[in-house]
């Protein structure tokens, strides 16, 4: 049993933290989000070349650093602390995950280009009608000779405006909500028939509504096996959930620290408001939620290497804890900041917004409770 990080992982953490301390202040971030294109390609270039972190979870044969999901966790927590919008999750965790797990023929080249910072991926899986049922797909890919023709509408594709490629879930057979018939494709965003309507999200990202209209795909666009890719989708989304939980831990740390600092300097009734026991106990409960969230993230990371069943149970359990903590820590951070917490000028509100969006990312608390119930209590009941 071992809950420590390797020396490489600790170095990775320090490298990312120190780069972000110099290049990702609250003001630098705010200015970048207000301007076009809404993110900083220079930061991404630094991730690739200066820090080398885009290869963190890939094997050395593929040109990576030889790490795995725990390295993603370490990096994502640091990205969370600075509310980084550059697309590590979509490109490295999700894009990289699909390429690594699927036996995709073009994986090696594609991963090399991810590590180099050239390929940026956004995951187009959500649909307007589907909520959190990943196999509920109206998007179709019809067989056409050796290739496919893609049609459909994908909702709120985070990071699509920055992406060079989209990974798209589409139906190649079966009914709209069947488990069978789900396939995954990689589509260059520049392909003919792909249109995007871009917009900002409340937590500072850019996203798109993506429409596919008779997009012609070669046979080499298929990732994983045709019609049987749902288990792959679930695995990669579970990995994305754990990475997002780690990001959330970084966000929660800042929410908690920021609140402690603020209550120590804010004076009312002639004393710092941190002296009031009712506020002290609230901050202790926030701290406990943070600690429990870290514990659950470690747990879920360890379970990623376990059976499909244990992996899924672990990811959902962690997401439930993170979802509840997001609400509790986020709302109380604002409450304890009083009126200042309501302002756009203070960082605290921006962390609150990210925490709140994480709550529903890849499935709400209720969704994951229900999934957990099915996995843990399904047979008994």
């Amino acid at each position: 049993m071992d809950f420590s990080f390797t020396e490489e992982q600790s170095m990775l953490r320090d490298t990312v933290a120190s780069y972000l301390a110099d290049n990702y202040s609250f003001e630098q971030r705010r200015d970048a989000l207000r301007a076009e294109p809404g993110w900083r390609p220079a930061v991404w270039k630094a991730f690739a070349e200066e820090l080398g972190i885009l290869g963190a979870p890939f094997s050395e044969e593929l040109g990576g650093l030889g790490g795995g999901s725990t390295d993603n966790m370490v990096i994502m927590e640091e990205l969370g602390k600075s509310l980084v919008v550059e697309p590590y999750l979509g490109t490295v965790v999700i894009g990289g995950g699909f390429l690594k797990h699927s036996g995709y023929a073009g994986a090696a080249d594609m991963i090399a280009s991810i590590i180099g910072g050239e390929t940026i991926i956004a995951f187009a899986y959500a649909e307007p009608q589907a909520r959190y049922t990943w196999q509920d797909l109206k998007t179709t890919a019809k067989k056409d000779g050796a290739g496919y023709v893609l049609n459909g509408h994908k909702a709120v594709v985070i990071g699509a405006p920055y992406a060079t490629h989209l990974i798209v879930t589409a139906r190649t057979g079966g009914g709209q909500r069947d488990a069978q018939g789900v396939s995954v494709f990689i589509v260059p965003k520049s392909a003919k028939g792909v249109t995007t309507r871009d917009y900002p999200t409340v937590d500072g990202f850019r996203a798109s509504e993506v429409t596919f209209e008779n997009v012609a795909l070669g046979a080499d666009a298929l990732i994983g096996s045709e019609g049987a890719a749902l288990p792959l989708v679930e695995k990669v989304i579970d990995e994305a959930i754990v990475a997002t939980c780690a990001e959330a831990c970084g966000v929660f740390r800042r929410l908690h620290e920021g609140t402690l600092e603020y209550t120590k300097q804010r004076k009312q009734f002639g004393q710092p408001i941190s002296q009031f026991q009712v506020l002290q106990h609230r901050m202790v409960d926030m701290f406990i939620q943070l600690e429990q969230s870290i514990s659950m993230t470690y747990m879920a990371d360890i379970k990623l290497a376990d059976s499909d069943h244990e992996r899924a149970k672990g990811a959902s359990a962690a997401k439930v804890q993170i979802g509840k903590a997001a609400k509790f820590i986020g709302q109380n951070a604002i409450q304890l900041h009083g009126g200042m917490g309501m302002t756009d000028e203070m960082a605290i509100g921006h962390y609150f917004k990210r925490a709140t969006m994480i709550e529903n990312a890849f499935g709400s608390t209720d969704h994951h409770l229900a999934r957990y119930e099915g996995l843990s209590l399904g047979k008994a009941a």
Partner: protein, 400 residues
């Protein structure tokens, strides 16, 4: 980062499991199954078996009878005991007093008291709380005056009242916090005394708790004569011992393994009990959700404890994490009691204590669940209430 158990750990688990299977007293098992109140000899029988094996005080330093187990082995041991539904070793001697004696005691005190604690020969009780000193323990008033006896030896004469003394009715000895200097600051005038409960002037009086049980007592001390050599550490510095003891009292308090077993029991009951819809209660969407949320919170507690253990094994002492474990651990224990009582529906109500056991009213598993629920409210009150734990975290961890 991994959860792998080494081959040595796996072998240890086998050994622990086999030892319990071969040595746990059948008579004790039967009494537990019948839900009978346990007597003094019942409590001590398992302790004495473990003592013979050398396993009665795993956390002690090796020289006094500890096992030198790794944190992982201790974790495995607690899991195996919970899995087999063994009774726990009483904490008063082994977990609470002994660390004070081997940390602060004299060589004579170590030699005199540690073997009896380790071997389950001497039953200890705790004299801390008073009617006027609960969470504000340092305001205690029980008075000890130093006098020279007729034999020319030095004694303390102790007068006052202690309360909430758990299982004091069985105790041979007690450890007491007493005020030896009434004029200094509250924490500064306290001493830590070991008192033979057979000393004239001691009266132990039953307090019946709301579920009808006899677990706690008032202890009255009327001119009780205690030899000075029974004081641990310096006069007026007993608070140092008291604080150390409270930290130890909290560390095992998460009770993860026991709560896992409790959760299994709730699931078993809810598989048998019917819901309003006619299926198993465990299929009821509202009940099922509460079980799932509890299970997830228990997982979070387990991994927080594992992180704490890992921190310990890499050289960081048991820190204030123990306050988190106490708060979350007791909350979970209480939610388990609530769920079990809710699960049995009508049969939570019969009060069978006075009818004797095997009253054949309602399902066997329902008996005692209401009692467990009521009795279990103590857990967020004792060992430093959960509000006091929050004060500790605020001060020690958050620096408020």
């Amino acid at each position: 980062m991994n959860l792998d158990f080494s081959p040595e750990d796996a072998a240890f688990r086998e050994e622990a499991r086999a030892f319990i299977a071969q040595n746990y007293p059948q008579e004790l098992r039967d009494k537990q199954n019948r839900g009978e109140d346990l007597g003094r000899e019942d409590y001590l029988s398992w302790h004495r078996i473990l003592a013979k094996k050398g396993w009665s005080a795993p956390s002690w330093p090796k020289e006094f009878g500890g096992t030198d187990w790794t944190p992982t082995q201790k974790y495995i041991w607690s899991e195996e005991q919970a899995r087999a539904d063994t009774i726990g070793i009483l904490p008063f001697g082994v977990a609470m007093l002994a660390p004070v004696i081997y940390t602060f005691g004299t060589q004579e005190q170590k030699e005199k008291f540690l073997p009896g604690i380790r071997d389950g020969q001497v039953w200890w009780c705790q004299g801390y709380s008073e009617p006027g000193a609960g969470s504000d323990l340092a305001s205690l008033k029980c008075k000890a005056e130093r006098v020279t006896g007729d034999d020319g030896k030095e004694y303390y004469i102790v007068n006052g009242q202690k309360t909430w003394t758990t299982l004091g009715q069985h105790a041979d000895w007690g450890f007491f916090l007493v005020r030896t200097d009434p004029n200094s600051k509250p924490q500064a005038g306290i001493s830590f005394l070991l008192i033979d409960m057979k000393t004239p002037g001691i009266e132990v009086r039953r307090i019946t708790t709301l579920e009808g049980g006899h677990e706690v007592n008032d202890v009255f001390l009327d001119n009780v004569k205690v030899p000075v050599e029974n004081r641990v550490f310096h006069e007026n510095q007993g608070w140092t011992c008291a604080k150390a003891l409270l930290a130890h009292e909290r560390s095992g308090i998460a009770g993860v393994a026991r709560s896992k077993r409790g959760l299994e029991r709730v699931r078993e009951i809810a598989t048998t009990e019917r819901s309003d819809a006619g299926g198993p209660l465990l299929a009821d969407p509202f009940f099922k959700r509460k079980v799932a949320e509890l299970e997830i919170d228990l997982t979070a507690l387990e991994f927080t404890e594992l992180r704490t253990l890992a921190g310990e094994s890499s050289g960081k002492g048991p820190g204030t994490e123990s306050s988190i474990l106490k708060i979350k651990g007791t909350e979970i224990q209480q939610r388990l009691h609530e769920l079990a009582l809710e699960a049995v529906g009508h049969y939570g109500a019969p009060y069978l204590r006075d009818l004797g056991h095997n009253a054949n009213i309602g399902p066997d598993y329902a008996e005692g669940l209401a009692g467990d629920y009521f009795n279990g409210r103590k857990t967020s009150i004792y060992g430093g209430s959960n509000e006091i734990q929050r004060n500790i975290i605020a001060k020690m961890v958050l620096g408020l």
